[in-house]
Symmetry: C2
Subunit: 246 residues, 2 copies
Amino acid sequence: MLPRFFVPDLDPATEIVALPPDEALHLGRVLRLRPGADVRVFDGIGGEWCGVVAEVQSRRATVRIGASAAAAAELRVPMALAVATLKGDKMDDVIRDAVMMGVRSIQPIVSARAEMSTSEAARRARVGRWQRIAVASAKQCGRAVVPPVEPARDFTAWIRDQRDRADVGLMLVEPSAQTPVRRLRDIPTPSAVTLVVGPEGGWAETELTQGADAGLVSVRLGGRTLRADAVPLVALAACHALWDDS
Amino acid sequence: MLPRFFVPDLDPATEIVALPPDEALHLGRVLRLRPGADVRVFDGIGGEWCGVVAEVQSRRATVRIGASAAAAAELRVPMALAVATLKGDKMDDVIRDAVMMGVRSIQPIVSARAEMSTSEAARRARVGRWQRIAVASAKQCGRAVVPPVEPARDFTAWIRDQRDRADVGLMLVEPSAQTPVRRLRDIPTPSAVTLVVGPEGGWAETELTQGADAGLVSVRLGGRTLRADAVPLVALAACHALWDDS
């Protein structure tokens, strides 16, 4: 895979585009690319193009845009992830992995037993940390789409908005959920999926009730206790195996 | 989940068992348990019992054995993992995650592009590092089975022994394999599965040919480039969703 760079709002009619400062540093300082090097650029909403490095200075790099190129295919069954916040680095890993598994959006949720307060989650969102991780993951996994990491919300407020969802909503509940994930084979391929993953300490009883009231199907991933930060990856891989054919 | 301790060769007819030194340290120094505390002990081959801490000294701890107890269920479709060695910590994570996902054995493989030499892999096996990681993961995920981490083998020698396998063998080949994992829905539930995962740099052409000659089905997990250390977890989750009903 050629080195890939993210240029939001890229207009392919432009002959030469300047990379954003972070991307210019990555090109020049980290990868040490020089004028003439073949690269790819993508716009974060599905467009990807061949390119050739035109100019490299300390904090500036430009790329001459060429033909459009094929990025990694997006999922045929769009999957959204709503995930209770985990401690520091674990949340970073969840976002990295979810983008790699093809999610269309990530909604951090502060639930009763979540490991991060709403204000700490807001601080992380403000400094753009989670969105930068999403960009880095999209670059590595070959997607031309950078899924948005939404501002964190309280579970109770978020679940109220889920009542009229048209997609299939799955609430991961270990180990007590009635439905093992394999039983999902028996339902028709959904038009879209929302996966709702709890924190290390699990859901509170009231949250389980609110989830059921909002039409979420409670599923479990197996008899073993999974690390909380592995659950989104395992659940997305399961849904992918059941429904996506890319 | 109560704290769990691994006692190989545990004889449940014994009234009081002494924990191995590592486990005694974990009980006394790390968890600071005292006589009278409720615990679980397991023998690594499927047996688990209730227990009560009897005695704690600096490097010694004993447990009074009670009734037998239910551990996490083992997979109905046994899954073995053969995985090309990755750099240091990544290989540790692969072993931890594979045990958590319920594998029955782990075979480290030195392939043409593997990131660890046979001698380095042998050194790590000799010091028991990988097997200790398997024990720690079994303790955390609730399994009473500690899967063996076999001595590393060269791919060419290992694949020769795979020709007469009775189970279904899947060779993960990104991104060029013809069969997306979802197509595996169409085959009958296998009696057992061996998953064969390559290194960061992928398989050499000759290895792909050797795999096909040994009857391995080449599958891919989707259009995106997955981190090499995430592939075993994603592939095991996919097989679990397709075939296991625990």
